[in-house]
């Protein structure tokens, strides 16, 4: 019994130092914001950014993401809850905030200083055909939808 336990230990005993952002669990938000792209983890932007984005879904980066007003209000609450500066922002939120000026309201995760710092990649990486755009996290981070951005 002890020997089996010891072997099991060996299997799980690799230090897990993955970078983690809590994924959205609210089913409505996950469905509505996970349709055209993966449902980005709210911790990547502060609440003021999400508010601004939710206030103008008709022009959502050149796309139309209009939602019924009651749905939008609910989603706005969910996003604020886990936003970088929200109560559930966690360590990822802290990292984002620490590199954000107070007068900045970025709408793109991919334009935050914290993102740019981690993504000084060669141009050829961004040009890979399956990447399409910087915001296509899943193309490079297989587990992005689960909020796990372990660098490998």
């Amino acid at each position: 019994m002890m020997k089996k336990l010891a072997l099991l230990l060996c299997l799980v005993a690799s230090p897990a130092l993955a970078d983690f952002a809590p994924p959205i669990t609210d089913p409505l938000t996950k469905a509505a914001c996970g349709e055209c792209h993966m449902a980005f983890q709210p911790a990547f932007l502060p609440a003021r950014s999400w508010d601004k984005m939710m206030a103008n879904l008709a022009d959502h980066f050149g796309d139309n993401a209009t939602l019924a007003p009651d749905k939008a209000a609910h989603i706005r609450k969910v996003l604020a809850e886990s936003a970088a500066d929200g109560p559930q922002g966690g360590r990822m939120g802290h990292k984002i905030l620490s590199r954000l000026r107070a007068d900045e309201t970025p709408l793109r995760i991919t334009e935050t200083a914290a993102f740019l710092r981690k993504h000084r990649l060669p141009e050829s990486e961004w040009k890979r055909p399956d990447v399409v755009t910087k915001s296509n996290c899943v193309a490079c981070h297989k587990t992005a939808e689960k909020g796990i951005y372990e660098d490998d």
Partner: protein, 270 residues
């Protein structure tokens, strides 16, 4: 050294130590004695190496061996890490050293065994603490996610395949017979309202039975044909929501009820 390199070194070292310890533990019987001695020395070497790594690591990097504290300066590393290192490293070193002694002086065997046993419990505790620190939240998140998914799945289970009533309702609203041919023409039509999305097939691909790709976000879109995707057109509200958006985007106007009905008819026959 960059933190990245330091973490890699730390991981390699950790694998070497954990591997050596486990091998030593499972080969403790008499008949595998040679392997046991070898892995015991291996552990000893790994522990010595750890001290050397601490010397060459940067002053605030992961290779440093900080003095354990009772306070936690947030943000910062959980103080439990320092405590685990402070307990585990000496305990394993003691186990390995008493092993070397027991090799020559058999009376030390009992002591060696007791220390090694205690070491295993420390390692187990170490594993549980790490699991708790790193995985606890993820496991909770996974469980709530799975529960939510299951609930959603159960609720929508009865309506799994495309619902012909959705197209029929558009047909009734239009007061006309629906046509798959007109639907196909709409699906493939090239328009000028949007520079990025000339056609429905820009994202949904010209072959509705194949998976498409959102032309801007890169996200995969499951096939549109009902025959190729059992989840298509099952929820009238979702269908209407997407028509509202996608027609506006591609055509620069809303689709008429007839167009919507035609479009669905085409995709349900495909």
């Amino acid at each position: 050294m960059s933190p990245r390199v330091e973490f890699t070194l730390l991981r390699l070292w950790h694998a070497a130590l954990a591997g050596g310890f486990v091998v030593a533990y499972v080969t403790a019987d008499e008949d595998t004695y040679a392997m046991h001695v070898f892995s015991g020395y291996w552990v000893l070497c790994a522990l010595t190496l750890r001290l050397a790594l601490a010397l060459i690591g940067s002053s605030s990097g992961p290779l440093r061996l900080p003095r354990p504290k009772f306070t936690w300066a947030k943000p910062g590393r959980n103080p439990l890490f320092a405590w685990m290192a402070a307990l585990l490293l000496p305990a394993l070193a003691l186990g390995a050293l008493t092993g070397v002694i027991a090799d020559g002086v058999p009376v030390a065997e009992d002591l060696h065994e007791a220390i090694a046993e205690a070491g295993l419990w420390l390692v187990i505790a170490h594993g549980l603490i790490i699991a708790w620190i790193f995985q606890g939240r993820r496991i909770r998140e996974f469980l709530t996610g799975a529960a939510a998914l299951l609930a959603v799945g159960l609720i929508s289970l009865p309506a799994w395949a495309a619902d012909p009533a959705i197209a029929a309702a558009y047909g009734k609203e239009a007061g006309e017979t629906l046509s798959a041919a007109r639907g196909e023409a709409l699906y493939l039509s090239k328009n000028t309202a949007s520079a990025d999305f000339a056609s429905c097939s820009t994202c949904h691909t010209p072959d509705p039975r194949a998976a498409g790709r959102h032309a801007k976000t890169g996200r995969v879109i499951e096939p549109m044909a009902a025959s190729a995707n059992a989840k298509r057109f099952t929820d009238a509200a979702k269908v209407e929501e997407r028509f509202t958006r996608d027609c506006q985007t591609v055509l620069g106007r809303a689709c008429t009820a007839r167009e919507k009905g035609d479009y669905l008819t085409f995709l349900m026959m495909k």
